[in-house]
Subunit: 208 residues, 2 copies
Amino acid sequence: MGKSAGQAEAHRQAPGNQPKTARGEATRKAILGAAERVIGAKGYNDASIGHITSEAGVAQGTFYIYFKTKEEVFSELVLEMGRLVRHTIAEATQDIENRLDAEKAGLQAFLEFVRAHPDLYRIVQEALFVDPEAYHEYYVTFSAGYCSGLSAAEKAGQISKGDVETRAWALMGIARALGEQLIVFKSEKSIREIVDTAYDLIANGLKP
Amino acid sequence: MGKSAGQAEAHRQAPGNQPKTARGEATRKAILGAAERVIGAKGYNDASIGHITSEAGVAQGTFYIYFKTKEEVFSELVLEMGRLVRHTIAEATQDIENRLDAEKAGLQAFLEFVRAHPDLYRIVQEALFVDPEAYHEYYVTFSAGYCSGLSAAEKAGQISKGDVETRAWALMGIARALGEQLIVFKSEKSIREIVDTAYDLIANGLKP
DNA sequence: CATAAACATGAATACTGATTCATGTTTCAT
DNA sequence: ATGAAACATGAATCAGTATTCATGTTTATG
């Protein structure tokens, strides 16, 4: 059907333009990286195309060769962030049999990721206002994975019974809040300490 | 020293202008209420002063009699929200001796509040980008109260030992995520169900 | 090399929306 | 009642910035 369909990753809307040479590829990457830094630092609205292109070292018009609108780079950033986080956590937990251990390793990987990419983190938060659809996709996808993991663990008797969906949201909420404490509130605690405390809460609860 | 200092509530920066008659008071309230609805619905950036004043039924210039800038109404909304939430939770938990019971009642009150005021909820989220200082104050104040509550409970042997600060953030994270699930992701679960599941997690953890 | 496609430029366009201001109207104290 | 302060108006100002476009430059390819 028609022209060859480019890479394997298919999304909604046609992107502004896929680069067709190495030069184009590099420029597009430069713009995307600049957008990540600038939007992460100043927020979506204060990050002008001018800022982004000058950070990328290209002219203003060049932006529109690769992205249809300002919102489009933003969406792409959010999507990329989602893939990256899922990949990071999956990798950190892939050969851990026990769910509780996986929970701990996953939380640690997440917090380390967040500390390493504070910009991307803020971008996801801002997506709720700039691109609600992307925000939804981010969390829904995440939640779905979480739910099936919890179901399996429940069946295997590794964790107690309980509504998996609510539990998934609660656990995501813990991770998110601890990540936020780390980067927005600049906590100086070590990730190790945080994870140990959180794990104890997740595994055993507060009961004496 | 100088003129009488108005009401008891002192904040940073001088406000645009405190009204001095009943008429002014009413107008100011109308604008604040309109701002809550409009900003809550459209977000900070898409909510223009024109929208807000027309929703309030006053002329555009009237806005600036009571608020110095657009950001100032926003700040005020965030501050108000903080007081309201704390008040709601304090009231719901005031004569509960046991910390775990208080946790449950507090979560329930919070979720009910959030469901009743979805606009105010989104506004606090957006504060991270529009007015980081107000955002900080919101969560830091909250966290401080939480920490002292947990410390006391720990000393009284009502809950197990553990770093109170991390625990406080984790618990706030649970509440926030469940609130978000409720209004942003339009969950249809009853608050009762959610609270029961979350309470079990908080009290007993996931261990089988 | 030649030539078309891809890529790059940055000035010009177009529009939005916060804030100001000169001018009324209402309220209050005397 | 009357002058001053408080309140209200909405058109005009002013600035920022997303997007377009006419014009070059580079790259791939026969």
